[in-house]
C-alpha cells in the first residue's frame, strides 16, 4: 500500500495536471465502499473510460473502487473527472498516474489470487554485490524496473533503459541470465533474437528484459546487467 501511495505521488509530481489525489489501492479499498448502483452514472462513465484505455474489467473495478474509497478526497460525482485527470494526455501517449494505479491494482489482485512471488538476484555491471529482487509470476523485468518494489527493482530501474516501451523494437533492456535459468526460461523467439543481435556484447544467455517473464521455476536466477546498454549497430558484427 505504501508503495502504491509512493508510486502515485511520484506520478503526480511529474504530471502536467496538478491533482492533489492521494490514492491507496490495498485490501483497505475493499472496505467501506459504496455499492455500485446501476444509476450511478459518474462511476459507470469512469469505469467505461478505464476500459476504453485498454484495461481489463477486473482492473477497472479495482481502479474505480480505489478512487471511491474513503480518504481519497474524491466526492460522489467526481470519479469520472478523477480518472480523466489520471489519464492525462492519453491521446498523445502520455499518462498522469493511471498506469501506476492500474499496476498497483494488478499487483494487489495477484496477491489475492495467490500468484507466486518469485525471488531472484540482480547483478549490476560495476559493483561486487548482487541485490535481491522479486516480482509476481507473469511480470517481466521491465515491469519490475518500472513498478517493482525494493532495492533490486531500484537497481534494475537505474540500469535498464526502455526506449521502445517493451515491443521488441530496440535492445536497451538487454540482460544476461545465468546459464541454468536461461535453459529453464527457454529459447527466445526470432523477433527477440533479432533485437538481441544489436545489443551491447550479446551472449548466448542474453534476453530482453521486456520479454523475460517470471515463473516459479525461475526462482533463484541471477540477472546480470551488461556493461553498456547501447546498441553498437555501427559495428559490423564480425572481426
Amino acid at each position: 500500500m505504501m508503495h502504491t501511495l509512493r508510486v502515485c505521488q511520484a506520478r503526480f509530481s511529474t504530471a502536467a495536471s496538478s491533482s492533489p489525489l492521494c490514492v491507496r489501492a490495498g485490501p483497505r479499498w475493499r472496505q467501506a465502499v459504496r455499492p455500485f448502483c446501476a444509476g450511478d452514472e459518474d462511476v459507470a462513465r469512469a469505469h467505461a473510460f478505464v476500459l476504453e484505455r485498454g484495461y481489463s474489467p477486473r482492473v477497472a473495478d479495482g481502479i474505480v473502487d480505489a478512487l471511491r474509497s474513503p480518504g481519497t478526497g474524491i466526492h460522489a460525482g467526481q470519479v469520472f473527472a478523477a480518472v480523466q485527470g489520471l489519464a492525462g494526455r492519453w491521446e498523445v501517449g502520455e499518462d498522469a498516474g493511471l498506469q501506476a494505479l492500474a499496476k498497483s491494482v494488478e499487483q494487489e489482485l495477484s496477491e489475492q489470487e495467490g500468484k507466486t512471488m518469485v525471488r531472484f538476484r540482480v547483478q549490476p555491471p560495476d559493483q561486487g554485490e548482487a541485490f535481491e529482487c522479486e516480482g509476481f509470476e507473469g511480470m517481466s523485468l521491465k515491469d519490475i524496473a518500472e513498478f517493482g518494489r525494493g532495492r533490486g527493482a531500484d537497481v534494475l530501474k537505474e540500469y535498464i533503459e526502455c526506449a521502445c516501451s517493451g515491443v521488441m523494437a530496440c535492445s536497451t533492456c538487454h540482460v544476461y541470465v545465468d546459464e541454468k535459468h536461461f535453459q529453464t526460461a527457454g529459447e527466445p523467439e526470432d523477433a527477440e533474437q533479432d533485437m538481441l543481435e544489436l545489443a551491447f556484447e550479446p551472449r548466448e544467455t542474453s534476453r530482453l528484459g521486456c520479454q523475460l517473464r517470471l515463473r516459479p521455476d525461475l526462482a533463484g536466477m541471477t540477472v546480470t546487467i551488461p556493461g553498456g546498454a547501447n546498441n553498437l549497430f555501427d559495428h559490423i558484427p564480425f572481426e
Binding site: 498523445v92 526506449a163 530496440c170 536497451t172 543481435e197 549497430f233 564480425f238 572481426e239
Partner: protein, 471 residues
C-alpha cells in the same frame, strides 16, 4: 545518515545552478539532457531546435510503417516535462542566435545537430533528374518541411536503390507496399499519392544493389525478415549470386557471426522465391550483391537506367574490399528512379572545427574550439559520425554528459541573467515554439489522422504550424 546529492551539496555551499545549452532535439539532444539531469537535477537545460517540431530523425527518419520504433518519444517527452528543462523550437542557431553568444552566456554548450548532408556515389551522370539521396527521399515522405518540393518523373516499371543498410530496405519496402497499408501510416499524403500513382502506372520491381556480399551488408535481421511477410511483396535473391558471396574469407566471417548465419536462413527463403520471378503477381524486391554502380544512364537529362560492375571480394576476413571484374560482366538495369542510400554526412557549421568531415573531440569535448568561454561539446552523429540507430546514442550521450558534468564541477557557474537570452529570442524574425505548443501540434496531427484513417497527418510546412498556433 542522509547523504547529500551533488546538487543539494552545491546549494549548501551557496553555489548557483549550472546553465547548459543543447542544440538539436533528436535522440542525441534528449538522451544527453536526460543523463545530465540524472547527474544533477538542479541543472538548467535549454534546448534549441531549428524546426518547430522536436525529435529529429525519430520524427523524420524512422519508416512510417515502423511506428513502434518511435515509442522512445514517450521517454523524451518525460525529459521535456522536467522542471529545469526548456525547449525553444523554431529557433536556429545562426545569425540571429549565434553560437558564440550561447558560449558567452551558458556554462556549457552541447551540439547535437546530427548530420543533414548525404554521401554521393561519385559516378558520371549522378545529377540526372530522377536520382535522389535516401536522406532527402525519406524526409520527403516523412513530411519534413525542407523536403516537400522534391520532384520526380514516374519511375516506370522499376526503381533502383543503391546501398544495403536498413534505410535502403525501408525505401524499397515503402515503394512496394500496398497503397492501403501506406495510407494507414503517418506517411505524408502527397507521398502516398505519388507512390500509389507510380504503382498504378506500372512500378513493379525495386532492385537493391550492394557492392559487397550479404555477409558484409549492414542490414539487420528484423528488417530482412519482415520482407518475407509484407503483404503483396515478393523478396527474391538469385541463388548463383548468393553463392558468389561465399568466398573463403566471407565463410570465415560467417562462421564467427550468429547474426549473419541467421541472415543466411532468411535469404535462403528469398532464394526459394526466385523461381516465382516470372509468374508472380506480387511486386518484386530483388537483391543484387557484388554490384557497384558505374554510370547513371539518362536521356535529355532524365534517368533511364544504371550500369553496374560485377565485383569480387579480396582481402582478409573483416576487411574485404570490392574490386570490379572485367566489363563483360557488367549489368545494365532500366529504371526511372534511383535512390542513393550510401550514408548521411556532417554539414559544416560556423564555429565548429571539422577535420576530414569529423569533429575532433575528446570524450565529447571539442578540441581547439576556439575562443569562447563555455566549453563546447558534441553528442550523437555529430560526434560519432552518421551511423547507428536510436539506441546507439545512449552510451554516447552518457559519455558526453559525464564529461560535461566533470568539467562543470571544476569551474564556478556564470552569473545567469534571463535578459540576454530573451533579447535574442524576442528580436528574431520568427516566433519561438515551446514544448507545449508542439504538444498542441501533435494532438492536432493525431486528430487529423483519425479523421482521415491514418496514424497521423503531419504538418509539412512551418507557416502552417505557426498559423495553427496563432503565432
Amino acid at each position: 545518515m542522509w547523504k547529500l546529492t551533488p546538487s543539494a551539496a552545491r546549494f549548501a555551499k551557496g553555489l548557483r545552478q549550472y546553465h547548459v545549452a543543447v542544440v538539436g532535439s533528436g535522440p542525441a539532444g534528449f538522451y544527453t539532457s536526460k543523463f545530465l539531469l540524472k547527474k544533477d537535477e538542479s541543472m538548467k537545460i535549454d534546448m534549441f531546435e531549428r524546426l518547430p517540431t522536436p525529435f529529429g530523425l525519430v520524427r523524420f527518419g524512422v519508416a512510417p510503417d515502423h511506428p513502434e520504433v518511435k515509442n522512445v518519444i514517450n521517454d523524451f517527452t518525460a525529459v521535456a516535462a522536467a522542471p529545469n528543462f526548456r525547449f525553444f523550437g523554431n529557433t536556429e542557431i545562426g545569425p540571429e542566435v549565434p553560437l558564440e553568444r550561447l558560449r558567452q552566456i551558458y556554462d556549457a554548450v552541447i551540439l547535437c545537430s546530427g548530420a543533414s548532408g548525404e554521401r554521393r556515389l561519385g559516378i558520371p551522370g549522378e545529377d540526372a533528374f530522377g536520382v535522389v539521396g535516401a536522406p532527402a527521399f525519406v524526409k520527403w515522405y516523412n513530411s519534413h518541411p525542407d523536403y516537400q518540393e522534391l520532384q520526380f518523373n514516374p519511375p516506370g516499371e522499376a526503381a533502383v536503390v543503391v546501398g544495403q543498410g536498413n534505410v535502403a530496405l525501408d525505401v524499397a519496402r515503402l515503394l512496394l507496399r500496398s497503397p492501403p497499408d501506406l495510407h494507414a501510416t503517418d506517411m505524408d499524403s502527397k507521398a502516398v499519392e505519388a507512390i500509389t500513382g507510380w504503382q498504378k502506372a506500372g512500378l513493379r520491381t525495386v532492385h537493391i544493389v550492394g557492392r559487397r556480399g550479404f555477409i558484409q551488408a549492414a542490414f539487420t535481421n528484423a528488417e530482412l525478415r519482415e520482407l518475407l511477410t509484407t503483404d503483396g511483396l515478393l523478396p527474391v535473391v538469385d541463388p548463383e549470386e548468393l553463392a558468389l558471396c561465399r568466398n573463403e574469407a566471407s565463410e570465415a566471417e560467417l562462421k564467427k557471426s550468429r547474426m549473419k548465419q541467421r541472415s543466411l536462413d532468411i535469404l535462403q527463403k528469398m532464394v526459394a522465391n526466385f523461381s516465382e520471378l516470372e509468374s508472380t503477381s506480387k511486386r518484386i524486391l530483388r537483391f543484387h550483391f557484388l554490384r557497384s554502380p558505374l554510370e547513371v544512364l539518362s536521356t535529355q537529362g532524365a534517368l533511364t537506367g544504371i550500369r553496374m560492375s560485377r565485383n569480387q571480394l579480396s582481402g582478409e576476413p573483416g576487411k574485404q574490399q570490392a574490386t570490379p571484374a572485367d566489363a563483360s560482366q557488367n549489368l545494365e538495369v532500366s529504371c526511372g528512379l534511383l535512390v542513393r542510400s550510401v550514408g548521411f554526412d556532417i554539414l559544416p557549421m560556423a564555429g565548429l572545427p571539422l577535420s576530414s568531415n569529423r569533429v575532433p573531440h575528446r570524450n565529447g569535448c571539442v578540441e581547439s574550439a576556439g575562443p569562447g568561454s563555455a566549453g563546447l561539446y558534441v553528442s550523437g552523429w555529430l560526434k560519432r559520425g552518421p551511423t547507428g540507430i536510436i539506441g546507439s546514442n545512449i552510451g554516447d550521450a552518457k559519455e558526453t554528459a559525464e564529461k560535461v558534468w566533470k568539467d562543470l564541477s571544476e569551474q564556478t557557474t556564470k552569473e545567469w541573467s534571463e535578459e540576454p537570452l530573451q533579447a535574442m529570442l524576442s528580436s528574431k524574425g520568427s516566433p519561438v515554439v515551446l514544448f507545449e505548443d508542439w504538444q498542441k501540434l501533435q494532438a492536432e496531427e493525431l486528430r487529423r489522422g483519425e479523421a482521415a484513417g491514418k496514424a497521423a497527418v503531419k504538418f509539412a510546412q512551418v507557416p502552417e504550424m505557426l498559423e495553427f498556433l496563432h503565432k
